[in-house]
């Protein structure tokens, strides 16, 4: 099957610090692909390139065969890439419904249509009860949900989740996992950065491990956890041999 998203030899550095070095991988339509790696491995930086927030120094990113790298965040959003942020960025002067409507307006012109779209998306994300609460009053878990809802309201082809489950209680994290599965069931492809291994590994079909800006390895969750390089990157040399 043709890849939905292709990353080709992508490199990006910030003032001499190489955040991403010749990264290449494909995301197949409909899959949940995990993006793992220790702090500073270049995961968020890669997300910023894919979502158009930064322009890669070299290499390219293709969505359904069309080049999207360097076009900027607005063009990427219109092309069908939606994202959440590691540090939540809700529109705090607005209610939950209004936040989600901003996402819905990406493809809709009329307020009525955007409202209907927002209602549907809030229902899907379990936010209907909080629809009229000001966004800044939400709990951290609800704010994560709000970001997912806002992104989904843009009707994306691929959703980038940046540490959506980090910092949540185990119960909240399990609810988050259920939401991610539901999003996948809707036909949206997912690329997720995550730290919480025991939560993310059962969820993803494949994972890419980054370390020091490079792709360390790619494989199924079972392969990943046994890979000596991965163990070394996370735990150090002492544990890698075993």
């Amino acid at each position: 099957m043709a890849a939905l998203l292709e990353i080709r030899n992508l490199s990006k550095s910030f003032g001499g610090v190489a955040a991403n070095v010749e990264i290449s991988f494909d995301v197949a339509p409909g899959e949940i692909l995990g993006l793992l790696g220790p702090n500073g491995a270049g995961k968020t930086s890669l997300f910023n390139s894919i979502s158009g927030e930064v322009t890669p120094d070299a290499g390219e990113i293709l969505l359904e065969g069309r080049r999207i790298s360097g076009l900027g965040p607005v063009a990427c959003a219109m092309a069908g890439i939606a994202r959440t942020f590691q540090v939540v960025r809700s529109f705090d002067s607005m209610s939950v419904r209004e936040n989600v409507m901003v996402g819905a307006f990406t493809r809709l012109g009329s307020t009525r249509a955007a409202m209907a779209q927002a209602d549907e998306t809030m229902e899907f994300c379990g936010l209907t009860r909080r629809a009229d609460a000001p966004a800044h009053m939400l709990s951290p878990a609800e704010k994560r949900r709000l970001e997912v809802a806002r992104a989904l309201a843009t009707k994306p082809k691929i959703l980038l989740l940046d540490e959506m489950l980090t910092g949540l209680t185990p119960t909240e994290a399990q609810e988050g996992v259920a939401l991610v599965r539901a999003v996948q069931a809707q036909g949206v492809t997912i690329l997720m950065v995550e730290h919480v291994m025991e939560v993310v590994l059962p969820l993803v079909s494949r994972a890419i491990v980054l370390n020091l800006g490079r792709v360390l390895t790619t494989g199924t969750p079972a392969e990943i956890v046994k890979h000596p390089e991965v163990i070394r990157a996370y735990l150090g040399d002492r544990y890698a041999a075993g």
Partner: protein, 326 residues
């Protein structure tokens, strides 16, 4: 479809209808020109602040140079009237167009600056325009322009000593700015602009075109302010750079919105209703010896509001909006 947003918007519209009805009869019991004059000025500043609020409140781009659009609007309409006898109703349209274009012209370089730098740039641009107009002899320079009296008529917006017609013109102008703000609030534009104000990066990631959003907000805000300048010129019958294109005026345009509640629909009117009478009273009681005291008053007022009601006076009328919706 009915939800909290549609219900709120309907309530706002009904409140506005009732308010306009009240304002229509408000000046009738007051016959002295002083009180009516005060009402006219209050409505003028309410409308100007409402125009400012479209850019400053909704889109979050704080302009401290809005007297530029007011002054240029006044000059455009007045010079068309003086030189070519164009009635101010058409002059107003020209004023709106020129002021709107000017706002785009200012925005083109200045919106590339973020945060406080944009505000500073607007001050600078307005000061440049002030100096330019002060020394531009073809349009009166520092001695200004007198609006010749062409006889009492609605067409020319000239009424010898009557204040009432001007009151209704100002009320119409205020209603126009309010309806514009209300309409924007419920449209795709309003949502995009507020997203830009709250978080530019998140807005961009949702496909909001940030720069065009700011430009559109600036053009509408500047254009409406220009209409105010055109009306004001007919009202006072004389314009010069010091009275319509000055730094203090720029502050006075923004102040009612800040005092009443930035980004709110009722803040500008409420702020003006407190600020403008206060200003007139202070200048009446203190006379010329008190020049500058009014500025101290504004400062004190803003400090009190900032400490006590950071959301502006309008928050006094809102029920506590807490998160427990269910």
């Amino acid at each position: 479809m009915q939800n909290a947003i549609t219900l709120r918007r309907r309530r706002e519209l009904i409140t506005a209808g009732v308010l306009v009805a009240l304002l229509i009869v408000l000046p009738l019991p007051f016959h002295d020109p002083y009180t009516r004059n005060l009402m006219i000025l209050t409505l003028l500043y309410a409308a100007l602040a409402q125009s400012w609020n479209i850019l400053g409140g909704t889109c979050g781009q704080i302009s401290l140079g809005h007297s530029l659009y007011f002054g240029v609007g006044a000059y455009v309409s007045t010079l068309l009237f003086v030189w070519h006898g164009v009635p101010p109703w058409f002059g107003m349209l020209a004023a709106a167009a020129v002021a709107g274009l000017l706002a785009l012209l200012v925005g083109w370089p200045c919106f590339r600056l973020s945060g406080h730098y944009y505000a500073i740039a607007t001050v600078v641009v307005q000061e440049i325009a002030y100096l330019l107009f002060l020394n531009w002899d073809d349009i009166g320079g520092a001695s200004g322009v007198y609006v010749p009296f062409h006889g009492q008529s609605w067409l020319n917006l000239q009424f010898r000593t009557a204040k009432l017609p001007y009151f209704y013109v100002m009320l119409g102008f205020f209603a126009l700015t309010w309806i514009a703000a209300w309409w924007i609030e419920g449209s795709r534009w309003g949502f995009s602009w507020r997203a830009v104000k709250d978080d530019v990066i998140a807005a961009r990631s949702l496909g909001v075109r940030v720069f065009p959003s700011k430009m559109a907000a600036a053009a509408i805000s500047g254009g409406l302010t220009g209409i105010g300048g055109a009306i004001f010129a007919q009202f006072v019958g004389y314009i010069d750079p010091d009275s319509i294109l000055s730094g203090p005026l720029s502050i006075l345009i923004a102040l009612p919105a800040v005092l009443g509640g930035v980004g709110t629909l009722w803040g500008p009117l409420l702020g003006a209703a407190v600020l403008i009478p206060l200003r007139e009273l202070s200048s009446t009681f203190l006379g010329s010896s008190g020049s500058g005291v009014d500025l101290m008053l504004y400062g004190a007022l803003i400090m009190v509001v900032a400490l006590w009601r950071p959301q502006g006076l309008v928050s006094l009328f809102q029920r506590g909006r807490n998160g427990s919706a269910s």
